[in-house]
């Protein structure tokens, strides 16, 4: 819909890492038995992906399957396609006990990239972001300063981060302050 706006509305900052609002993304919270065949089929039909393991992010073309908890996944897809993908899930799990909710508008999605991306996040999140400790495909639900956030690393060395929509401004400003030139820690760059 042309009227739909993300919380950060395309904001971008270039410091020793680049922080970019990724705009609106389709997001589906899926809760169910992650070991079940039917749930596997539901995720496959909605994203083309398998079931991620603990602290894993699987990514595909325009989609992602993110592990959230032992019985919860967050599925990403193009914003305009959420309704049909949600329907696919509901069809695959019909008659079973599951929860699939459209939460596409509840979050902000940010991309943190560049040589300083690891250090930028390491200033804010109690996570080991050393290159040997946080590798592509890893996902962490954690705290970013004073808010809950989750991030994952893709094969191009860029981090994607999600936080709740209401604190998007705070999240962006945190990352801006972290990535401000002059503040390079000199470890991971």
């Amino acid at each position: 819909m042309s009227d739909a706006v993300s919380a950060l509305n395309g904001a971008r900052y270039e410091g020793f890492a680049t922080i970019e609002d990724q705009g609106l993304s389709g997001m589906i919270t899926l809760r169910g038995d992650l070991a079940s065949k039917d749930l596997r089929a539901a995720v496959k039909s909605a994203t083309g992906l398998g079931i991620p393991a603990q602290r894993q992010a699987l990514t595909g073309k325009g989609t992602a399957a993110l592990w959230m908890s032992p019985d919860e996944l967050l599925l990403l897809c193009p914003y305009a396609e959420v309704t049909e993908r949600l329907a696919a899930i509901e069809a695959a799990l019909k008659g079973q006990h599951f929860l699939a909710q459209n939460v596409s508008d509840a979050r902000a999605l940010l991309r943190i990239s560049g040589a300083g991306a690891r250090e930028t996040l390491a200033k804010l999140c109690p996570v080991d972001l050393a290159p040997e400790a946080f590798t592509p495909g890893m996902l962490r639900r954690t705290r970013m300063a004073q808010i809950p956030a989750a991030f994952w690393l893709n094969n191009e060395g860029a981090f994607h981060l999600i936080c709740f929509r209401s604190v998007a401004d705070y999240a962006f400003n945190l990352l801006k302050a972290s990535a401000r030139p002059g503040g390079e820690v000199g470890l991971y760059a």
């Binding site: 009227d3 739909a4 200033k123 604190v167």
Partner: protein, 1007 residues
């Protein structure tokens, strides 16, 4: 006088000159100088005045243990008080001033205190300022506040920036001297991930100073060379991180270590953060923190020019600074001879070495004598001559009472009472100490290390910090520590040997806690323990006599060790005096508690980046920008910001609120209700689950319908309320209060995961998925009808129903619920479309004078209708039955959370205060929280009460003040009059009335 030497200065770049100023004097130094070495090079020994007696204070040490030389560093917004000159790196343009004197450093009026010393001993504060009692507030306290402290507090508004950094490693080594370097190497060679931090700007510690003079070598090479080579090895290893200017500030549970990095203190004016706080999680921590030399306690040991022996040689070797042309050395151990030998080789004079030991020293003493230095055994200093600077010393026999044998002219005194291992970081998290009598020091007790969650040791002390007595012992101890740390984190140490070192054997030290041994009171009153707080030997002895026998009590009574240096030079000397006064061995006295930080760290570093816009995460709804642009007066609701009202022009808040209410009740209002919690509860057992969580029956709610529910906690108290909507057979949407959203969701998950784990229910917190806008007032339906083709009639969408529709082309869900008592629709729309919907509603409602209203209008309107508010009518002790909400409590249900609790006698007591309305006789607004008094007084002598106000407002609808409150037997006493005393002494009379002030039959929400 102190001066720069032609030779020496291994840390300096003598090719460049830096300019700085002290008390307005323009002076010069070199890169590599500390402010201390630069001041001394310019013969500026006097740097401050002590706290109580305002005695002249000079530089005593060369490192973080410095108690005296504290200055105001910088100016304006960057002014920082109490900065140690010994740990301040010199930079071009540095400006500083001395502290705690008036009118000047040289001529300080406060020095009169020193002449009143007899009347101002320890304990003076307690005895003097306690009587007469009334004097405290207006005489003593202001006086103490004016004289307290040393430096001046700075202006607010720190212009620099600060940050944190999270770091993880297997082994964190604190201290970059030879012990730290070897520990790090041993651990890294085993494959562990190692962090090595050093608080100063250079690696190698004090070994180069100590062993360049005594020919000490490591693996057959000079100490310098070994340090350079080891550093190179460490720098080459990818699993090693090295960090200078980073102090280990504190050790905490689970291997948590704080590192305080002074990123740009030495290079102001760059873009870098000023300080960075490293928040480190380590598998093992090695404290290679070295040892600190102790002063000796003799009369006049505080006169500027009396310094730690090791510091004097540090200044010579590292900074090329001579403290004095003629230096007398006084010692109880062999190490201080290194200072005499060093200075002699620089061409300076040593009139005498006074060795308190009757049998004198060992090989180093022989070497001193061979250099032609006079060495006197069994001798000590009776007193030091001089006021603002040492002019000489008077010798005596250490075994005697201080009879002067001889006076020696000198301008510096190098004292050494032995060495205290730096045990602070070991002790922070439970490590215990043992008293090593042979070395007269407390050192880490290896049998009682700090332990982790499984009881495993997680801190290892290494080197001098562990009591190692010479270079060889230090290196082998450090090597073992590194290997142990690596093994403990799952790595296999290499079977290498520790470096070997040649060590000059030293004769045993003799503890000397008072010089001379039999010093009388006159001398003991001038023998200083704590230089900053002015605590003398006689003070600690006084404390013991007055019954302050515990070392913790003696500390507080005398203030020994309570200054900004945290007792680094005074604690051990002080507790030794205390032990002697009590006639008990030192280990029985023990030490006071060591607390982080090791040295003071800036508050700004602790706060990190959390200031200004990112001080706290303000939560904003999708309509936030509109509210801001339209003059909203904000109210904090938790971390959300909600509009309280929208004043127009010069309107007061009260007028704005009244206008918003009136417009809404007569025509049309809009409220941003996005912050309310929305939780999806889905599954075959969802109905059963909600029946347990709410007092009502929710399982009987039909799809398409809504029901107002009350949620009590296990103890029966009302904790949240909200409208539940049934979306389909298995799915409910529960609304919660704004503040309760996360808590209720957590409450639901808690019960599902821990108690009813076999029930088939999933929850999801979708609060942020939807913007929610309340369209309220007689014109609500007409306005919505302009935006949709859907049937909005009373049959299609009745009160307490909901429907999915398209509004202004947007997919919405309309809940026909009312918190105001008017015709009302709460419209939920995906948050990204929230602003679009709001704009469309404003446009459609313009013809009806649509009026956005805020939280205050919301509160008043619900109060006019007698609707309760969680947090106003509830306070954690109120149950639904108190609030006339018995109708919401199912009698059919076998159980729900709170049911049994509400059967307890206190809960069923008819004397519990109950909800009523309150109407003042004069129409005024009852003060919030006011109590209704009853005749008589209770057992505490307080007036009896029979009710209290829970909500109180001005109602523009009724033209008078209205209130709700809890009153004893309230519902049975309609019409009774109550007295409410005000804080200004007046009394407001109010009548008990029905809490529903407006539209009693609830017709308006049903139209």
């Amino acid at each position: 006088m102190s001066t720069r030497l032609a030779r020496g200065g291994r840390l300096l770049d003598k090719g460049r000159v830096l300019h700085f100023s002290f008390n307005g004097k323009r002076l010069k130094g070199h890169p590599g100088d500390t402010l201390a070495s630069a001041l001394l090079a310019n013969d500026q020994m006097l740097v401050g005045r002590s706290f109580k007696y305002h005695r002249p204070r000079g530089i005593v040490a060369s490192g973080a243990e410095e108690p005296n030389a504290l200055v105001h560093l910088g100016t304006g917004a960057r002014l920082e008080p109490n900065q140690r000159v010994t740990t301040t790196e010199l930079f071009d343009g540095l400006t500083c001033t001395s502290q705690n004197h008036w009118p000047s450093l040289e001529f300080d009026i406060g020095a009169v205190n020193t002449h009143l010393a007899r009347f101002l001993p320890a304990g003076f504060y307690y005895k003097m300022f306690i009587h007469p009692r009334p004097f405290w507030k207006h005489v003593y306290e202001p006086f103490i506040r004016r004289s307290a402290g040393l430096g001046r507090a700075t202006n607010p508004g720190d212009p620099d920036r600060y940050e944190h950094f999270y770091f993880f490693c297997d082994v964190a080594v604190i201290g970059g001297g030879v012990a730290g370097l070897q520990s790090a190497l041993a651990a890294a060679e085993a494959g562990a991930k190692v962090l090595l931090i050093e608080q100063t700007a250079h690696w190698g510690g004090r070994a180069p100073v100590d062993h360049n003079v005594d020919g000490g070598e490591i693996d057959g090479a000079p100490v310098d060379a070994w340090i350079t080579a080891t550093l190179a090895k460490l720098q080459d290893m990818p699993n090693v991180t090295l960090r200078l200017r980073c102090m280990g500030a504190g050790v905490y549970d689970h291997g948590y270590l704080l590192g305080y990095e002074r990123v740009s203190d030495h290079a102001p004016g760059t873009d870098a953060p000023r300080h960075r706080l490293w928040r480190i999680r380590a598998g093992q921590i090695v404290t290679a923190t070295g040892a600190i030399e102790r002063p000796l306690s003799f009369a006049g040991n505080d006169i500027p020019g009396v310094m730690l022996a090791s510091a004097i040689r540090d200044y010579a070797v590292d900074y090329g600074v001579s403290i004095g042309d003629r230096t007398v050395v006084v010692t109880n151990n062999d190490d201080a001879y290194r200072t005499a030998i060093t200075l002699k080789k620089f061409g300076l004079e040593i009139p005498a070495i006074l060795d308190a030991r009757q049998s004198g020293g060992g090989a180093l003493a022989d070497e001193a004598r061979a250099l032609g230095i006079r060495v006197e055994n069994g001798k000590g200093i009776a007193k030091v001559m001089g006021g603002k600077r040492v002019t000489g010393v008077a010798l005596c026999a250490q075994a005697g009472e201080g009879a002067v044998l001889e006076e020696i002219r000198c301008d510096a005194v190098a004292m050494s009472g032995g060495w205290s291992p730096v045990v602070h970081l070991w002790s922070h998290c439970g490590g215990k100490l043992l008293w090593d009598a042979a070395q007269a020091q407390f050192r880490p007790d290896p049998a009682n290390p700090p332990r982790g969650a499984q009881g495993e040791a997680f801190v290892i002390a290494a080197g001098a910090a562990n009591g190692a007595s010479d270079l060889a012992a230090t290196l082998s101890d450090a090597d073992a520590a590194g290997k142990t740390a690596a093994a403990a984190t799952g790595h296999k140490p290499k079977s290498t040997k520790a470096p070997t070192a040649t060590a000059t054997p030293e004769a045993a030290l003799e503890p000397v806690w008072l010089m001379p041994q039999g010093a009388g009171i006159t001398l003991r009153m001038k023998s200083w323990l704590d230089y900053q707080n002015d605590v003398k030997v006689s003070d600690v002895q006084l404390a013991a006599r007055e019954g302050y026998e515990s070392v913790e009590h003696a500390k507080r009574y005398t203030t020994l060790g309570m200054a900004t240096d945290q007792g680094k030079l005074s604690n051990i000397n002080g507790l030794a005096i205390l032990s002697d006064a009590l006639g008990q061995p030192i280990p029985q006295t023990g030490t006071t508690t060591f607390r982080p930080p090791y040295t003071p760290i800036s508050f700004s570093a602790i706060a990190g980046a959390a200031r200004g816009e990112i001080f706290q995460p303000l939560r904003k709804t999708p309509l936030h920008a509109w509210h801001e642009a339209n003059g909203a007066h904000w109210e904090p609701v938790g971390q959300w910001r909600r509009p309280y009202c929208y004043p127009k022009g010069e309107e007061s808040h009260r007028d704005a609120v009244n206008r918003e209410i009136t417009q809404t009740r007569t025509r049309l209002g809009l409220l941003d209700a996005s912050t309310l919690g929305k939780i999806i509860v889905k599954g075959p057992d969802a109905g059963r689950f909600l029946d347990m969580l709410y007092t009502n029956v929710m399982s009987s709610l039909k799809p398409g319908r809504c029901r107002y529910g009350l949620m009590c906690n296990e103890n029966g108290f009302l904790m949240d309320d909200g409208v539940v909507a049934r979306l389909d057979e298995e799915t409910f949407l529960c609304h919660t209060t704004t503040g309760g959203a996360e808590g209720v969701h957590g409450h639901m998950e808690d019960w599902l995961q821990c108690e009813w784990w076999d029930w088939k229910v999933y929850t999801a917190n979708v609060t942020e998925q939807y913007a929610q806008i309340a369209v309220v007032g007689p014109k609500a339906r007409e306005t919505l009808a302009k935006l949709t083709n859907a049937d909005l009639g009373n049959d299609a969408l009745p009160f307490m129903g909901w429907a999915d529709l398209t509004l202004a082309g947007l997919p919405v869900r309309a809940y026909r619920i009312s918190f105001s008592g008017e015709l009302s629709y709460e419209i939920a729309v995906p948050a990204s479309l929230g602003r679009a919907l709001w704009d469309a509603l404003l446009e459609a409602g313009a013809e009806h004078g649509v009026t956005p209203y805020g939280t205050e209008g919301l509160h008043v309107m619900r109060a006019e209708k007698g609707f309760i508010m969680i947090g106003d009518e509830t306070d954690g002790t109120v149950i639904p039955q108190d609030l006339g909400l018995g109708w919401a409590i199912s009698r059919k249900k076998a159980d729900y959370l709170g049911k049994r609790a509400q059967e307890r006698s206190h809960m069923a007591d008819p004397n519990r205060w109950k909800l009523v309305g309150l109407e003042t006789l004069d129409g005024s607004v009852l003060p919030d929280g006011a109590y209704a008094t009853a005749p008589g007084h209770n057992a505490n002598g307080q007036r009896k009460t029979q009710g209290r106000v829970t909500s109180s407002y001005y109602s523009p609808t009724l033209g008078k003040g209205i209130a709700m409150g809890l009153v004893h037997n309230g519902p049975d006493r309609m019409g009774d009059m109550l007295d409410f005393p005000k804080v200004d002494g007046g009394i407001v009379k109010a009548r008990i009335v029905d809490p529903v002030f407006y539209d009693k039959d609830g017709e308006k929400q049903n139209v």
